[in-house]
C-alpha cells in the first residue's frame, strides 16, 4: 500500500497556488484591541451610533468569556493583542465607486485567483462582492440586482443605508454572546456581505463573495447576513484564500442566514485558506460561526462546504428549524493533509413540526492531519414527525493521520425518526486492484475512488464551484471517468 500512499500524498501535496502576496499600500491599525480601537473602527467605517453601542456591548461581553478548548484540536494560545483589527487597501476615496477606482494590483490579484470581478466576466453570470483584508473592494452587478429589488452590498454600506434591516436581523441568529469568536467578531467585524431578497423574488444570478487576507498580522473578521423574504430564493457562493506566511493568521467570521416563509437559501463555500507548510508552520486559523434560522414555514437552507485549506478549521454551519415543514441540509467535504486539523460538522435543531434534516459529511485525512466530525441533532418536544438522516464517512490515507466522529443525538419527541451512520475506512486494495485491472493507472484509480467518495457532496455544489472543488482536491474527473 505504501506506493499508493505516496501517490495519494503527491496528489494531495500540491503547493498552495493562491499563496502570493499583493504589494499594495494599506491603511492598517496598529496591533491591539481595546474600546478605543473599536470606537476608531466604528468611526472609520462611518457607522451610526447604534453600531458602536452594539460593538462595545459585544466587546465587554467577550472580555468575560474564556477561550474555548473543547474541540479535538491543538491550538497554540492566541494573543488577541498581537492582531491588527483593521486593514484596508489604500484608495483615493473612502469607498471605491466603480472598478476604475480599484487598485489595479488588487484586480490583478483577483485575476490570479480567477474571480470574475471585471466587467468582461459578465457572461459568467455571477455577482461578486470581493472582500480584501477587511474591506469590501467591489461589488459587481449591483445595479442589475437592484432592478429586481435584491440588495447585495458590503455590510458596512448596509449599516449606513438600511439600518432598519440591520437592527432587525443582525445578531438575531447568532446572538452577540453566543460564543467566544462570535462575540469577538461582533465587536470588531470590519466588513462582509449583506444580501436581502425581497418577497417572491428568485435571485436572477448566483451571488458570490471572495475573501482574501493579504496584509500580515491582521485578523479577518467578516460578517455575512443574508435575509430571504417570503417565497424568495438565492444561491450564494463563498470562496477564500490567503498568502503564504510563516505566522498564523486568525479568521473569525460570522455568517447569519434567515429564511422566512417558503424561502430558500443555498449557501456554498469553498474554503482554501493557506494551510501552513508541511511542518505545520503558518496557516490560517479558521474559527467560523455559521448559522441559519429557518424561521418561516416550508423554508429551506442548504449548506455545502468544501474545506481544503486552513491550518485549523473549527466550524459548524447549523440550521435552526423553527418553521413547520422546514428543511435543513448539510453537505461537507473536509480534506486535511500534513499537520492540518479540522473539527467541523453541523447542528440541526428541530423545533417545528415535520422538519427534516440531512447531513452528509465526508472527511479525508492524509499526512499527519486530524479530521473530526462533530455534529448535533436535537429534536425538541414540539418537533412532531421530525426526520433526520446523517451519514459521515471518513477516509484515511496513510497511517499517521486521525479521523474522529463525535455525533450527538438528543431526542425528546417519540414520533421523530433519526438515523445516523458512520464509517471509517481506507481506500481498499480490492477497489484499487479492480480499477487497475480495468486498465487505470494507480493514480487515476485513487483519483476516481476519492472523487466517488466525495461525489454525493460535489453534486450539491453549483457548477463553477464543483469544478474548482475537484481541482482543489488535486484530482481531475476527466482522468478518472475516461
Amino acid at each position: 500500500m505504501s506506493a499508493n500512499n505516496d501517490e495519494i500524498n503527491n496528489l494531495l501535496n500540491q503547493d498552495y497556488k493562491q499563496g502570493f502576496v499583493t504589494d499594495i499600500q494599506a491603511d492598517t491599525f496598529p496591533v491591539g484591541l481595546n474600546e478605543e480601537v473599536i470606537a476608531k473602527l466604528s468611526k472609520v467605517k462611518n457607522e451610526p451610533e447604534f453600531m458602536l453601542e452594539y460593538r462595545l456591548k459585544a466587546f465587554r461581553h467577550w472580555q468575560t468569556m474564556p477561550s474555548p478548548d473543547w474541540a479535538q484540536l491543538n491550538i497554540d494560545p492566541i494573543d488577541y493583542q498581537e492582531i491588527s483589527y483593521y486593514s484596508a487597501p489604500k484608495s483615493k476615496e473612502n469607498a471605491p465607486k466603480s472598478l476604475d477606482d480599484i487598485d489595479p494590483e488588487i484586480l490583478d490579484a483577483y485575476k490570479k485567483l480567477g474571480i470574475p470581478l471585471a466587467e468582461q466576466e459578465q457572461l459568467a453570470g455571477i455577482a461578486v462582492d470581493a472582500v480584501f483584508d477587511s474591506v469590501s473592494v467591489a461589488t459587481t452587478f449591483k445595479h442589475k440586482l437592484q432592478e429586481v429589488g435584491v440588495i447585495f452590498c458590503p455590510i458596512s454600506e448596509a449599516i449606513r443605508e438600511y439600518p432598519e434591516l440591520i437592527k432587525q436581523y443582525l445578531s438575531s441568529v447568532v446572538p452577540v454572546g453566543d460564543n467566544f469568536f462570535a462575540a469577538l467578531n461582533s465587536a470588531v467585524f470590519t466588513d462582509g456581505s449583506f444580501v436581502y431578497i425581497p418577497k417572491g423574488v428568485r435571485c436572477p444570478m448566483e451571488l458570490s463573495t471572495y475573501f482574501r487576507i493579504n496584509a500580515s498580522n491582521t485578523g479577518q473578521f467578516e460578517r455575512t447576513l443574508i435575509i430571504a423574504d417570503e417565497g424568495s430564493y438565492v444561491s450564494y457562493l463563498e470562496g477564500c484564500s490567503a498568502p503564504q506566511r510563516d505566522e498564523n493568521q486568525l479568521h473569525a467570521a460570522v455568517v447569519e442566514l434567515v429564511t422566512l416563509k417558503e424561502a430558500r437559501i443555498k449557501y456554498s463555500t469553498v474554503q482554501n485558506w493557506y494551510p501552513g507548510d508541511k511542518e505545520g508552520k503558518g496557516g490560517i486559523y479558521n474559527f467560523v460561526t455559521k448559522r441559519a434560522d429557518c424561521r418561516g414555514d416550508n423554508s429551506k437552507v442548504s449548506w455545502t462546504q468544501v474545506e481544503t485549506g486552513s491550518a485549523i478549521t473549527w466550524k459548524y454551519p447549523s440550521c435552526v428549524l423553527t418553521g413547520d415543514n422546514s428543511v435543513g441540509e448539510f453537505y461537507s467535504v473536509a480534506v486535511t493533509n500534513n499537520l492540518q486539523q479540522a473539527d467541523t460538522g453541523t447542528k440541526m435543531i428541530h423545533i417545528g413540526k415535520n422538519t427534516k434534516s440531512t447531513i452528509i459529511s465526508k472527511g479525508i485525512s492524509a499526512g499527519k492531519a486530524q479530521n473530526t466530525y462533530r455534529g448535533l441533532v436535537k429534536v425538541l418536544k414540539s418537533a412532531e414527525n421530525a426526520r433526520n438522516y446523517t451519514q459521515c464517512d471518513s477516509l484515511l490515507v496513510g497511517d499517521k493521520c486521525g479521523a474522529h466522529t463525535f455525533p450527538y443525538v438528543e431526542v425528546k419527541q417519540p414520533t421523530a425518526q433519526i438515523e445516523h451512520e458512520a464509517t471509517t475506512s481506507k481506500i481498499s486494495e480490492d477497489q484499487l486492484f479492480f480499477c487497475q485491472q480495468r486498465g487505470l493507472s494507480p493514480e487515476d484509480a485513487v483519483s476516481m475512488i476519492v472523487n466517488g467518495f466525495c461525489k454525493q457532496v460535489f453534486k450539491e455544489l453549483p457548477m463553477e464551484f464543483a469544478v474548482e472543488a475537484q481541482a482543489l482536491l488535486g484530482l481531475s474527473l476527466e482522468g478518472s471517468v475516461g
Partner: protein, 413 residues
C-alpha cells in the same frame, strides 16, 4: 471496614484526597453532560451498617433473584455474607478484604490498574468500599458453574463494593452481577469491578441492574484484555431512579470484545450507559450493540466511544445503538463516537431513534391482533433480541420474566 493493610490504606488515603477535589462528577465533564448527580449530594446518605438478621420478606426477595444453577457471592448492603454465599472450592474466590491479607502478592500489583480514566465515583468507591469479591482462576482452568455476585440493599444508606477478577492464560469463566434492593427504599450503591484477562482467557459477564425505583446506582466495569483474550458483556439496566453504568475495555493484539446492552426506562428513571473500547494493538475485534426503550418521563443516555490507537492496524469495530421512544415525555441522548488514529481499520457505527414500524403493526392488525397488543408484541420483540443472547438458563428466565412484567402482552408464557 477492615483497613489494617497498609498498601490498601495508602490507596484509600490517596483516593480520599482525590475525591475531596473532584467530588461526584459534575455535568461540566463531557462524559457526564447528560446526568445530574446533585440529588445524590442532597440526600446525604449515611453509610450502611452490617445487618445481623433478615426478615422473611427480605429473604424471599433475595431468593427470587438467586439463580439455582450458579455459585453465589452475596453482599448485603455492601457486606459479604458468608452464610448465604456458596463459593466454588477448587478456585481462588474470597472476599476482597480477605484477599488483601492472604493474596496480597497477586492483588496489590493489579489493584486500580484497569481504571484508565478515574473520576469522582471510582475515587468514592475506592475510599468507602466495605467489601467485594476476589476471583483468580488459574491457567487452563475454568469455573464449572457461573458465579453470581448478588448485591442486595436493605437500608436507606449508601454502600460501596470493589471487586477484582483475574483470569490467567486460557482460563474461562462466567460471572453474573445482580443488583437488587428492597422495593421503594432510597439508597445508593456504588460498585467497581476490575477485570484482568490474560492471553486467551475467556470471560462472559452479565450485569442485571434491578435496583429499587428510588435507588441511585453506579456500576463501573474496567477490563484489561491481553492478547487474544475474549470478553463478552451483557448489560441489563432495568431498575433504579438514576443509574449509571460504565464499561471500559482495553484491547491488546487479537483480543475480542463484545458489549451488549438493554436499557428499559419508565416513569422518571434516568439510565445512563457509557462504554469505551480502546483498541491499543492490532487485529482486535469489537462489537457493540445497545438497545433502549424509554417510556413515560424516562430518559436514556448512551455514550459509546471506540478509540483506535496509532498502532492498532486491522482493527475491526462496529457499534450500534437503537432506541425506541414510547412517550412524548421520554428523552434519549446518544453519542456514539469514533476516535481513530490508524488507517487500516474497519470501523462503523450506527444510531437510530424512532418508533415501531407502522407496517409491522398493520401486518399484525390484519391478522386480527388489536393495535395495543401488536405494539406490545413488537416492543417486546425489540427488547427480547438482547435477552435471547443470555445462555445461562436460570438467568434467561429471570430477565425474561422482568421483561414480560413490563410488556405483559408481549409474548406467550
Amino acid at each position: 471496614m477492615k483497613t489494617d493493610i497498609s498498601w490498601l490504606n495508602t490507596l484509600r488515603q490517596n483516593a480520599l484526597t482525590q475525591f475531596e477535589q473532584t467530588r461526584f462528577p459534575s455535568q461540566r465533564l463531557e462524559d457526564w453532560r447528560y446526568t445530574n448527580l446533585s440529588a445524590i449530594e442532597k440526600k446525604q446518605f449515611a453509610f450502611a451498617n452490617q445487618v445481623e438478621t433478615f426478615d422473611d420478606t427480605h429473604k424471599n426477595h433475595l431468593a427470587d433473584f438467586m439463580l439455582n444453577d450458579c455459585y453465589h457471592a452475596i453482599f448485603v448492603d455492601g457486606f459479604f455474607d458468608a452464610l448465604l454465599s456458596t463459593l466454588p472450592e477448587n478456585i481462588t474466590v474470597c472476599s476482597i478484604n480477605e484477599a488483601a491479607e492472604h493474596h496480597e502478592t497477586v492483588l496489590a500489583p493489579v489493584f486500580n490498574q484497569a481504571i484508565e480514566s478515574p473520576h469522582g465515583f471510582t475515587h468514592f468507591t475506592n475510599v468507602h468500599f466495605s467489601d467485594g469479591i476476589f476471583v483468580c482462576i488459574n491457567e487452563h482452568s475454568q469455573l464449572d458453574k457461573p458465579l453470581q455476585i448478588l448485591h442486595f440493599a436493605t437500608q436507606q444508606a449508601m454502600s460501596a463494593t470493589r471487586h477484582v477478577v483475574i483470569l490467567e492464560e486460557n482460563a474461562c469463566a462466567t460471572l453474573i452481577e445482580t443488583f437488587i434492593g428492597v422495593e421503594t427504599q432510597t439508597y445508593l450503591t456504588s460498585s467497581v469491578l476490575e477485570i484482568f484477562l490474560n492471553d486467551h482467557a475467556n470471560l462472559t459477564l452479565y450485569k442485571v441492574q434491578q435496583d429499587s425505583d428510588k435507588a441511585y446506582h453506579f456500576g463501573g466495569t474496567y477490563v484489561k484484555q491481553a492478547d487474544n483474550a475474549h470478553f463478552t458483556h451483557h448489560n441489563f439496566a432495568l431498575g433504579g431512579l438514576l443509574a449509571r453504568s460504565e464499561i471500559m475495555s482495553h484491547l491488546e493484539t487479537g483480543a475480542q470484545c463484545e458489549l451488549n446492552g438493554l436499557y428499559l426506562g419508565e416513569n422518571r428513571q434516568h439510565l445512563d450507559n457509557l462504554t469505551r473500547i480502546v483498541h491499543a494493538k492490532p487485529d482486535a475485534v469489537s462489537r457493540e450493540y445497545y438497545k433502549g426503550i424509554l417510556n413515560h418521563r424516562a430518559r436514556g443516555v448512551f455514550q459509546g466511544r471506540i478509540v483506535v490507537a496509532k498502532d492498532a492496524q486491522c482493527t475491526d469495530s462496529q457499534m450500534n445503538n437503537r432506541n425506541l421512544l414510547l412517550s412524548s415525555d421520554a428523552e434519549i441522548d446518544t453519542k456514539p463516537q469514533l476516535e481513530i488514529y490508524a488507517d487500516d481499520v474497519k470501523c462503523t457505527h450506527g444510531v437510530t431513534v424512532g418508533q415501531l414500524d407502522e407496517k409491522s403493526i398493520f401486518y399484525l392488525q390484519s391478522r386480527g391482533i388489536d393495535e395495543d397488543h401488536a405494539k406490545h408484541i413488537l416492543t417486546f420483540a425489540f427488547a427480547n433480541e438482547m435477552v435471547d443472547k443470555i445462555t445461562v438458563p436460570s438467568l434467561h428466565d429471570c430477565v425474561f420474566t422482568q421483561l414480560l412484567a413490563r410488556f405483559p402482552q408481549g409474548a406467550e408464557r
